[in-house]
Amino acid sequence: MRGKLLRTMLINLIVWTLALAWALPYIGVVAVSAMPYKEVVTEGWLRIPNVDSLTLRNYIEALTNPLYDLATGYRNSLIVASISTLIPLIAAALAAYAFSNLDFRLKPLLFGLVLVIMMVPQQLTVVPLFFLYRNLGLYDTMQGIILLHSAWGIAWITFFLRNYFKFIPRSLIEAARVDGASDFRIFSKIVLPLSVPGLIAAALLQFTWVWNDLFYALVFLISRENQVITQKVVMLKGEYHIDWGLLTAGSVISMSMPVILYAVFNKYFMKGVAAWGVKR
C-alpha cells in the first residue's frame, strides 16, 4: 500500500517536472510578450510579471506597424495552410480508399512509390524545384507554394488514411457491396463518416506543418505581399537590435492558430493518432 503511494508520487513528480521543463519556454514567451522592453532587459524574462506594467503595445505594434506587416502574413498563412490542407486531404482520401479497398495492377509498386515520396527530404528537391518553378512562372506565387505543400501532403496523408481505412471492418464494405452500393457511395457514406477522427488528425498535422514551414517559404516566397507569418516573425528580429517584446508577441500570434485548432479538435486528434501506430 505504502509502496504504491510512493510510486504514484514519484511518477507524478517526474511527469510534472518534465511538463514544467517543456512548458517553461512557452510561458516565458507569453509573459515577455506582455512586458515593456525596458523591463525585459533590466529584470530578465523568467519571473512573475509585474502586473502594473503589463501591456498590449507589443501586439498592436506587431500587427499594425506597416514595417512588420504581421497581419498580411497571418492572412497569407491562413490561405496557404487551409488550401494546402484541403487539397491533399481530398486527393489522399480517394487514393487511400483505392489502396485499402480496391484491387488493381501495380498496387504494391504504386504504394511503394507513396512511401518513397514520404521519405525524401524536402531539402533534396529544393534546387530542381526552384528552376522548375521559375520556368513555370510559379516562383513567388501563393498558388506555387500551395501546390508544393499539397504534393508533399498527399503522400503521407495517403499512407496515414490507408492505415486508418484498414481499421474499418471489411464486412461493412462487403455488406454495402452486396447491397449494390457503388465504390463512391461506399467511400462517401461509409468510409468517410467512420474515419472522421483520422481525417481530423491528418488535417491538423498537415495544417500545422504548412503553417510552421519556413524553409520552403524562404525559398519560394520573396515579395512582401506574398510572405507568410513565419517569414514575418523572423523579420521582427533586427540585425543589431532585438526587441524581445515585439518578437515574442509575433511568436504568440504565429502560434495562436495551431494552438486554437488543437484545443478545439484535441479529442479527435488523439483518437486519430492512436490508430496510426497500431499495426493491422
Binding site: P169, S171, L172, E174, A175, A176, R177, V178, D179, G180, A181, R185, I190, P193, L194
Partner: protein
C-alpha cells in the same frame, strides 16, 4: 417474395497455393434451405462468398435461376448476405441501416421515400425491432443487432439469402431463439437460403439439406437424417454427432477381428470385405447398449462417466480402443467396473480405411 434456384458448376478457388474450393458442384432448389457444414478452413465461407460475388472463382460457373452470374458484381446478383459480425454501419441509425439497400437502388427501382419507409417498417415489425429504429446499432443488444442485420438482408426481397455463421456471436440462449426464428422466417418467405456454420446442431436443426465440406470439397449432401444415419464418408461420421461415431478398427480375414471380439462374416458379403484386409466399423454412441454378460458382444472396462443432465456418456475401454456410449438410463457404475456391450448391428456402417468412403451397412447378426 420468392426464391431462386442456385447452381455451382465445377467451382474452384485458389489462394496462392492453397485450394480453398476444389471442383465443387452444388444445386439448390427454389426455397430450399441448404447448410454448408464443416470445420474452419474447409472452404464453406469461400463458397458462400463466391455465391455472393465477393470472390471470383478461378474456374467454374455460378448460376442463379439458370442465369450465369459468375462475372456479375455482388450488387447485381440480387442476393443478400448476413455477416458473422452483423456488419451494421455504426454511424447511422437502425432505420438507415435497414433502408440502406433500398436507398442504394431507389432510383433503379423508382422507390419514393415513403415506399422505403413502408418497407423498412414492415420488415422491422416482422422481426419485432420496430421500436428500435431510431437507435444506433451500438445501443442494441447482440440479439437485437442480429435482428437488424436480418432485417437489412430481407428488406430488398432477395432471390437468395446468404448467411455466414450468423449465430456464432450470440449467447447460447438467444442463439436457440434466433435459430428457430430464422427457420420460421425462411419457411414463411420461401427464400432460397445458403447458410454456413461449423456447428452441427445448427446445421441439422435448420437445413432441408446439409452439405458437409472438408478441404474444399463436399463429401456428402443430404437431409439431416441421411447425414446422421448414413454417413457416406468417415469424415462425415466423425464430424457430425455429439459425441461422434465410434470407429472400431477391424481386421478382415475369414472372420472379422475387432477390438474385444470376433465375428463371422456373412457368406454373401465375405468376398466383398475380404479384399480390403482392414475396415473401420462405425457405430453411433446411442446404438451401443450395456447389457448382461450373456447378451454381450464384447467386454470392456468403464473408463469414465460424463453426466450431461438428461443423458450420460459412458466411456468404455475395450482393449486399447475407447468407446463412447450415450444412454438415458442411469447405471450405478464406477471407473474400472467391467461391463458387457451389445452393438445394434443394423445401425453399424463399414468404412474403407484407405479412402474413408462408406462401404454400406455391415449386416452381421
Amino acid at each position: 417474395m420468392k426464391g431462386a434456384s442456385l447452381k455451382l458448376w465445377r467451382v474452384t478457388k485458389r489462394f496462392r497455393n492453397v485450394v480453398a474450393v476444389d471442383n465443387l458442384n452444388l444445386e439448390v432448389d427454389r426455397g430450399e434451405f441448404i447448410v454448408l457444414l464443416g470445420p474452419s478452413g474447409c472452404g464453406k465461407t469461400t463458397t458462400l462468398r463466391i455465391i455472393a460475388g465477393l470472390e471470383t472463382p478461378d474456374e467454374g460457373r455460378v448460376y442463379i435461376d439458370d442465369v450465369d452470374v459468375t462475372d456479375l458484381e455482388p450488387g447485381e446478383r440480387d442476393v443478400a448476405m448476413v455477416f458473422q459480425d452483423y456488419a451494421l454501419y455504426p454511424h447511422i441509425t437502425v432505420f438507415e441501416n435497414i433502408a440502406f439497400p433500398l436507398v442504394v437502388r431507389a432510383r433503379k427501382l423508382s422507390l419514393t421515400k415513403r415506399d422505403i419507409e413502408e418497407k423498412v417498417l414492415n420488415v422491422a415489425k416482422m422481426l419485432k425491432i420496430d421500436d428500435l429504429l431510431d437507435r444506433k446499432p451500438t445501443q442494441l443488444s447482440g440479439g437485437q443487432q442480429q435482428r437488424a442485420a436480418l432485417a437489412r438482408a430481407l428488406v430488398k426481397e432477395p432471390k437468395i439469402w446468404l448467411m455466414d455463421e450468423p449465430l456464432s456471436n450470440l449467447d447460447a440462449l438467444i442463439r436457440l431463439q434466433v435459430r428457430a426464428e430464422i427457420k420460421k422466417l425462411q419457411k414463411d418467405l420461401g427464400i432460397t437460403t445458403v447458410y454456413v456454420t461449423h456447428d452441427q446442431t445448427e446445421a441439422l436443426s435448420l437445413a432441408d439439406r446439409v452439405a458437409v465440406m472438408n478441404r474444399g470439397r463436399i463429401l456428402q449432401i443430404g437431409s439431416p437424417r441421411e447425414i446422421y444415419d448414413d454417413p457416406k464418408h468417415i469424415f462425415v461420421a466423425t464430424f457430425v454427432g455429439v459425441p461422434p461415431m465410434n470407429l472400431l478398427e477391424c481386421r478382415v480375414s475369414d472372420v472379422l477381428e475387432c477390438p474385444g471380439f470376433r465375428r463371422k462374416l456373412p457368406e454373401e458379403s465375405k468376398e466383398y470385405f475380404k479384399r480390403l484386409n482392414k475396415i473401420y466399423i462405425g457405430i453411433r454412441p446411442e446404438h451401443i447398449e450395456i447389457v448382461s454378460k450373456e447378451e454381450g458382444d464384447l467386454e470392456g472396462v468403464v473408463y469414465v462417466i460424463e453426466p450431461l443432465g438428461p443423458e450420460y456418456i459412458i466411456n468404455v475401454l475395450v482393449d486399447d480402443t475407447l468407446i463412447k456410449i450415450k444412454t438415458v438410463k442411469e447405471y450405478t457404475l464406477h471407473s474400472g467396473d467391467k461391463v458387457y456391450l451389445k452393438i445394434n448391428w443394423a445401425k453399424a456402417i463399414a468404412f474403407d480405411t484407405a479412402t474413408g468412403l462408406s462401404l454400406g451397412k455391415i449386416s452381421i447378426a
